[in-house]
Amino acid sequence: MDDKRILEMRGIDKVFPGVRALQGVDFSLNEGEIHALMGENGAGKSTLIKVLTGVYVRDGGTISLKDHGEVQIHSPQDAQKLGISTVYQEITLCPNLTVAENMFIGRGAGTLTNWKKMNEDADRILSSLDIPAKATQQLASCSIAVQQMVAIARAVDMECKVLILDEPTSSLDEQEVEKLFGLMRDLKSRGVGIIFVTHFLDQVYEVCDKITVLRDGQLVGEYEIKDLPRVQLVAKMLGKEMDDLSDIKGEQGTYHGADANEQIFEAEGLQSDAGIAPFDFHIKKGEVNGFTGLLGSGRSECVRAIFGADRVLKGSVKMKGKSIKITKPLDAMKNGIAYLPEDRKDDGIIGDLSVRDNIILALQVLTGFFKPFSKAQANAFAAEYIDKLNIKTASADTPVKSLSGGNQQKVILARWLLMHPEYLILDEPTRGIDVGTKVDIQKLVLELASEGMSVTFISSETDEMLRTCSRLVVMRDRKVVGELSGDDLTQNKIMSTIAGGEQ
């Protein structure tokens, strides 16, 4: 092994019942290197990480570390002792403890804790890494980005040599991502090897040195970042030359029915208890529009108010010109409104239930408590949508939590499509999802619209919204500050509207 190499994985195999998750995958990491691990959902990125961190026991292959030679990693504790630390997409710290407690929890040398020393140590580490948090602050009071950084600080303090960041940026806004990158570069200069898993191509090209691409559990290759232009990276991930991303909008996005000008949904002065200013909103049949704005600008809160997910305080709502009242999600569903929530794990999937039950849930609730679908009917529904949306699952009986993120999202999408809504709200449907599935979802949205469904689409990636929406509602500080359509739909115009419209 050469001097700078700190991690070397050779021929890693991992088999799950019915699936070969990894087949002879090689991966290596040098000191002071940020190495992107890329692949579509289900390509084996998470599995590889979990093998490395001892969550899964590998079925074949070797792992060697600098200074340790070949190692056996049977548990996350083993990995930690060997200097391999992981920061996951979802914060795995305890929000009800203080920052310092979170940094030192589970690492006590003895039974007694020297609180003063612990807090001092924590503060020292935090300030050395420029993390804007205080040791005695409760973790929940920090922003998600800072919580993420605390998790990293914890990892760094444990003398980690290999730091794994598993989609750390998916819930951060741009400034927060920038801060995180600063921290990563800082660690890099200290000789830490970082494995970076992300779906954002921009981010890969901004911070990474090398890219390893996986596809269907196999290694596609390892590349220097300068040798691999974006288009090629995407092509390698998908295993084919991809249709031009920007070209998917065309005729299929427009609805030509006679009732194309009919207002499907109108809201006036709508306000919920989630702290947004009252807003007006409307959508026509077959229209795709969106809410845009920075994270926390209130775009999710707006659609939640429409769906009745938060308590509606005031405002009037019309569906196809008829006044209706929506006080709870069921009211909205009865009126043909469907809502795919932002937080897939907490608000979307019912993890332990099967893929089938997750798919039929909304329609089942709508059909009524006393009219359960027969088993055959439920299976037929599930099979139809597993096929239609190309959901990768071992069977309809598989618990949905064991699917990859993108496939979970498709299951929730299937749930709402099965309801055949007139108005579909998608809140961040593409977050944490691979490029291929992203394109699938965007195409699907345009296809649905061309069939006459009205869709509201929210995404943190503005180019994605520009590609799908014909009208954008711009939000800032929990207020609607503008509306863009037609020729105004450009990246610059959105930015300036968000910023205040002066530039």
Partner: protein, 362 residues
């Protein structure tokens, strides 16, 4: 050939992972122990009882008979556990309340009435209402005030038996009508204990409810992810509340059996510690006590296994006051074996042997 073998192993592994594995193994072990100890355990005899009617007797009949209340309670407890992620520890005390209310209606406030003062069905309906009111009280605290189930039900657990005594002015009325004793004993001419029919009826009812309504799906969805359920149009608060009300109904049926067995009541002893057995039945069935997915049949099976165990221990001449300690040992073993950690370990061990077998075959 190797294919065949691994297929068999796969099936075996599937069964080890199955929820019914632990209850099934428990039954086999209990059966074997009894068979070795005294094969007469399994003898069922048709004899005459005191009243001169033919009745079935034997240990198996005892298990089915005395396991009835527990099986009925397990139904409600399973739903409460699944929906709320907690347990109701007040069922013993609420059985006392519902039973006491039933006696009050039957005896009309007299301690030794000559005839019953109201039809039995009226008394039973009153008991059902009282049981459901108790359930509503618990359910309200849990679902609407978001109090932890065990804390919420601690109130009735503590106060229940006093309330029961107060309903009958701390008297112990005796029901004069022999017909009332049928529910906890035998209907003349019918050799099978009535309790078996009552339990069967309850099981059939819940089977129908689970088949013809979405109670199962809703309860599981709420237990697994309340927030998601709400966004899918389910009302998680109501489902939790409902589960406690259903348990209240189960309590009333159990109270009917319990009071009928004696034709009277002993406030401090009736259905003592039955809540623990009911919770255990749910756990034995492999259902997570933290809620979510459930298997109703496994819980009911669990209830009969607990009664099987109790009866077995009596056969081994374990004194009734020492019973709990013996039970605890067995329970620890069962619960440890049903823990996911241990099961994972077992299936990993099984896996370690599987490749070896494959290699040999190759």
């Amino acid at each position: 050939m190797s294919k065949k073998k691994s297929g068999g192993l796969g099936k075996l592994k599937g069964f080890v992972g199955n929820q019914l594995f632990i209850p099934f193994i428990a039954i086999v072990i209990l059966a074997v122990v009894n068979l070795v100890h005294d094969p007469a355990f399994f003898k069922v005899v048709l004899g005459l009882n005191n009243a001169g009617y033919p009745v079935l007797s034997g240990s198996l009949i005892t298990i089915l008979d005395y396991g009835s209340e527990l099986a009925i309670l397990a139904i409600g407890m399973t739903l409460v556990t699944a929906a709320s992620g907690g347990q109701d520890i007040s069922v013993g005390a609420t059985i006392a309340i519902a039973g006491s209310a039933m006696l009050r209606v039957l005896c009309g406030g007299n301690t030794r009435p000559d005839t019953i003062q109201a039809p039995i069905i009226v008394a039973f309906i009153v008991a059902c209402i009282v049981g459901m009111l108790c359930g509503m009280f618990n359910g309200m605290l849990v679902a609407y005030f978001k109090i932890q189930p065990m804390i919420a039900t601690l109130i009735l657990f503590t106060a229940g038996r006093s309330i029961a005594a107060w309903i009958n002015n701390n008297e112990l009325p005796i029901v004069p009508d022999p017909k009332f004793a049928y529910f906890g004993g035998f209907i003349p001419g019918m050799p099978v204990p009535t309790t078996v029919f009552i339990a069967a009826a309850c099981i059939i009812v819940i089977a129908l409810v689970l088949k013809f309504t979405n109670l199962g799906l809703y309860t599981q969805a709420v237990g697994i992810n309340g927030s998601s359920s709400r966004l899918n149009g389910i009302n998680p608060t109501f489902i939790k509340f409902l589960s406690f009300v259903i348990l209240g109904l189960c309590v009333a049926v159990a109270a009917l059996i319990k009071v009928s067995r004696l034709s009277t009541i002993n406030y401090s002893v009736i259905a003592k510690d039955i809540e623990m057995d009911a919770i255990l039945a749910v756990a034995l069935g492999g259902n997570a006590l933290s809620g979510g997915k459930f298997n109703m049949w496994a819980s009911i099976l669990g209830a009969y296994i607990i009664q099987f165990l109790t009866t077995t221990l009596y056969k081994f001449n374990v004194k009734s006051d020492a019973l709990a300690a013996y039970k605890a040992v067995v329970v620890i073993i069962l619960v440890v074996f049903s823990a996911p950690v241990v099961r994972d370990y077992i299936s990993r061990m099984a896996k370690r042997f599987a490749p070896a077998a494959k290699k040999e075959a190759a």
